[in-house]
Each structure stands twice: as structure tokens, then as C-alpha cells.
């Protein structure tokens, strides 16, 4: 067996039989993605309608055509409506197997329209990536047994890849001294300005005061986060996954406390995909309800 096939076995666990708990969990996970897709689509659409009038930064497909034509005539709201309806149809498995790809395209479009103002947020990447994996999964694995396994395995693969690549981005961008604690001081001051501007006031919390009190402490905080990113790829191995994922979740709480950056959807999804929740469900369920079977 080749090395990449071994990784495939860890991600997709072909030797494990599909259980009722797994299918119920997958449907819950898909509902989570659907609700966030609908929420993002409408909130981006409404924001565009109220605040966007010029393209400052072209992202994704916006590099190839002028998205400012889509700011008006309620087009963002129409895209949100279409995304919601098609997303619901996909959830109930009523449409063709390529329909999730259309939902993904619409969500991408809505993202590049909304974030044409200069900000490049990453907290929504996980939801976008999940819709993308649902699209690929429905096209190549429409089988009820295989699609859930592929979708979750693919998301886990790209999550691990993303964290490890973030480690190397920092190594290449700055060098081995990236974890110098004074860098954290600069980011705390930067984020404090963001909060001051957003809320009108700002107070340092306990962790920020601690980090600002000593370069040693702030360096240790940065080093912990950086090394956690490095080992991100270890989530590919099913036995290590819950431990690596716990460290990543802890790292996100650290980022929230030290730099006031929240990753709600991101962390919630890490909690969902990082642990074998299906085992808990299997303890109380012996067969898959018919209505779940129809929708997987």
C-alpha cells in the first residue's frame, strides 16, 4: 500500500461499517452547514446592499469580472434567496447530484461581492470548504454509505493542510523569530484599536495584561500557537485526531482571548468533526430512522 493510500484509509476508514449513529450525525452536521450557509448568504447580501458601492479588493472570481454590477437591483438578496432554496433542496436530496456545486458557486459569488471592500476574513472558510466537499461528495459518491465518509474525510484533510500551511506561511514570512513575544504586543495593540473603533471602548483582559507584562510569557503563548499549527496535519490520523483537534480548539480560544478574534463557526465545526460523536449516538440508537435514510 502506498503512503497516500494509508492516509486515505485513515481519513475514510473503509474497514469500518456504517452505523446508524454515523448517518444521524452526518445529517446533523449537514444541517449545521446548511444553516450557516443560509445565514452567511443573507448577512453578506444585506451588508452589500446597505454598504457596498465600489470594489476595493477583488477576491476569487471577482478577479475576472466587475462585481460592482451585482451590488444593485437587489441582486445580492436574490442570490441569498436562491442559495437558501437550493441548499434546502440539496439537504432533502431532491435535486440532481450536481446541485450542491451550484450552491457552492452562489456562495462563492456572494462572498466575493460582500468582501470586495478590502477585508479578507478566514472565519467563514470552513463553511465554504464544507459546501465544496459536499458538492464533490454528491457528484462522485452519491452512495448513501460513502458520501458521508468522503465528505467528512475530505474536510478533515483540508483542515489539517490549512493549519500546517499557516505554520509555513509564518516561517517563510518572518523566519524562526516569528514567536518573539514583542510581535504579540504589536498585534494586541492592533486589535485593541479595532475593538475601540468597533465598540467605542476597550479594556485589556487578563491574558493580554499577562502577555504585555513579559516578553517571555508572550513568546511562550506565540510558540504554543505556532507549534500547534505545525502539527495540524496530524488530524489525518484517526487515533491522534481528538488530541490534535483539542489543541487546535484551545489555540483558537487563545487567539480569541489574546487578540479578540472570534472564530465561532470555525471552532464549532472543529468540535463536530474532531471527535467520534457517532459512537455516543450509537449507544442510544439501534437503527437508522427511515426519514434520515431518505435524506442521506
Amino acid at each position: 500500500m502506498r503512503w497516500y493510500e494509508k492516509i486515505g484509509d485513515q481519513l475514510f476508514e473503509p474497514n469500518r461499517s456504517v452505523t446508524p449513529g454515523e448517518l444521524i450525525f452526518f445529517k446533523f452536521f449537514e444541517l449545521f452547514i446548511l444553516l450557516y450557509t443560509i445565514y452567511y448568504s443573507w448577512s453578506w447580501g444585506l451588508y452589500t446592499k446597505l454598504h457596498n458601492s465600489e470594489v476595493v479588493l477583488s477576491l476569487g472570481l471577482a478577479n475576472y469580472f466587475d462585481v460592482s454590477y451585482l451590488f444593485n437591483h437587489n441582486i445580492p438578496l436574490f442570490i441569498a434567496f436562491l442559495t437558501s432554496i437550493l441548499g434546502i433542496v440539496c439537504f432533502f436530496r431532491k435535486g440532481p447530484k450536481w446541485l450542491y456545486a451550484v450552491v457552492f458557486f452562489l456562495l462563492h459569488l456572494q462572498y466575493v461581492i460582500r468582501y470586495s471592500q478590502g477585508e479578507i476574513p478566514h472565519s467563514q472558510n470552513m463553511i465554504g470548504l464544507s459546501v465544496f466537499c459536499l458538492a464533490v461528495g454528491s457528484i462522485f459518491f452519491s452512495d448513501k454509505q460513502k458520501m458521508p465518509r468522503f465528505v467528512l474525510g475530505a474536510i478533515i484533510f483540508f483542515v489539517g493542510l490549512g493549519y500546517t500551511s499557516a505554520f509555513f506561511s509564518k516561517l517563510i514570512g518572518t523566519g524562526f523569530n516569528w514567536f518573539d513575544g514583542r510581535h504579540l504586543w504589536l498585534w494586541i495593540s492592533e486589535k485593541s484599536v479595532d475593538i475601540l473603533s468597533r465598540e467605542g471602548s476597550f479594556q485589556l483582559n487578563f491574558l493580554q495584561q499577562l502577555a504585555l507584562s513579559s516578553t517571555l510569557i508572550s513568546s511562550v503563548i506565540l510558540l504554543f500557537g505556532w507549534l500547534t499549527e505545525l502539527i495540524g496535519f496530524t488530524v489525518w490520523w484517526k487515533k491522534i485526531r481528538p488530541y490534535s483537534m483539542s489543541l487546535l480548539i484551545l489555540m483558537h480560544f487563545g487567539i480569541t482571548l489574546s487578540m479578540n478574534i472570534r472564530f465561532d463557526a470555525f471552532v464549532l465545526e472543529l468540535i463536530l468533526i474532531g471527535f467520534p460523536w457517532y459512537k455516543l449516538i450509537d449507544r442510544s440508537v439501534s437503527s437508522t430512522p427511515t426519514w434520515i435514510q431518505k435524506m442521506v
Partner: protein
């Protein structure tokens, strides 16, 4: 399920990975939802953000002066209360290279038409940097004065601060 499933799955991931790499390599590290997650990759550099100061009650000869964050002469306008995304606003101010009349008008539109009334809001650049190896200084530079019907540039700043020469 058997190994042929996981073999097919990992091959599809391989194809997506190549697509991922090509897209992020050709689009400065970002092609949503694909990213190399470059945030915070360049540490130690000075940063520039933005905030809005309410200068309604201040005289004109005071509002354009550069000053420190801790001695600011006006209170910040809490953007969240006005439905404006702070990060968006900050990037709009710091990434715009040519402040054409259209771009200045877009800033007023971002604040919301008919919201300002008799108020005067100063969109300011805020810059932070490490000094003397062990402290951070943060400076506020008043940049654009936005009122209900005009957007004025800071008369004490050089024109190159507003126009990079390329249209």
C-alpha cells in the same frame, strides 16, 4: 466499503489539492474558500488600521493634527452601532491608493446615506509600531472629514498620501 473507495477518495483529494495549489498560487494566496492562511505571517512590521472620531464640536484648526492614541482629542464613533463592519472600514481606508471623488463618495455611502445629519466624522488612519525594542507607540492621523454632503481631505497632508500617481 473496501479499499477501492478510500483509494478513489484520496485520488479525488489529490486532484482537489492540485487545483487548490494552482488557485492560491495564482491569486496571492487566496481563492475562497482555499487559502494558505497568511494572516499574521509577517510579524514585527508596523501596522495601519482606521477609526472614526466624532469631531462635531471641535474647531477646524484642531481636527487635522496628528496625535497619539492615548491623547486623542475626540471620542471614537462605535461603528458597530451604525452597522458598519470595522475590519471592512479599516481595510477600505488603508488599501485605497487613489482617493478619487467616487471612492470618497463610496466612503460616505459606507457610513450610510442621511445618517450624518449635522455631525462631522473624521476617518483617521491609526498606525502602530515597535520603538526602542520594548514598547509600542500608536499614532492617529486625521485623514478624511465626512459630513452629510462632503468628504474633505486633510489640508496638512501631502497629495501623495491620497494619490499614488497611477489611475
Amino acid at each position: 466499503m473496501d479499499h477501492s473507495f478510500s483509494k478513489k477518495g484520496i485520488k479525488i483529494i489529490g486532484v482537489i489539492f492540485v487545483l487548490y495549489a494552482v488557485l492560491v498560487a495564482s491569486h496571492k494566496g487566496e481563492f475562497w474558500p482555499f487559502s494558505i492562511y497568511p494572516m499574521f505571517s509577517q510579524a514585527g512590521n508596523p501596522w495601519t488600521r482606521a477609526m472614526v472620531l466624532d469631531v462635531t464640536d471641535l474647531p477646524d484648526d484642531q481636527i487635522w493634527e496628528t496625535h497619539s492614541l492615548y491623547n486623542r482629542f475626540a471620542e471614537p464613533v462605535p461603528l458597530k452601532e451604525h452597522g458598519i463592519d470595522q475590519i471592512d472600514f479599516s481595510n477600505f481606508i488603508s488599501k485605497t491608493e487613489n482617493w478619487t471623488p467616487e471612492r470618497r463618495e463610496a466612503l460616505r455611502y459606507m457610513f450610510g446615506q442621511n445618517r450624518l445629519g449635522s455631525e462631522r466624522w473624521m476617518a483617521s488612519k491609526v498606525r502602530g509600531q515597535l520603538v526602542q525594542e520594548d514598547s509600542v507607540i500608536v499614532e492617529i492621523k486625521p485623514f478624511l472629514l465626512v459630513t452629510a454632503d462632503t468628504v474633505r481631505m486633510n489640508p496638512s497632508l501631502d497629495k501623495s498620501e491620497y494619490f499614488n500617481g497611477e489611475e
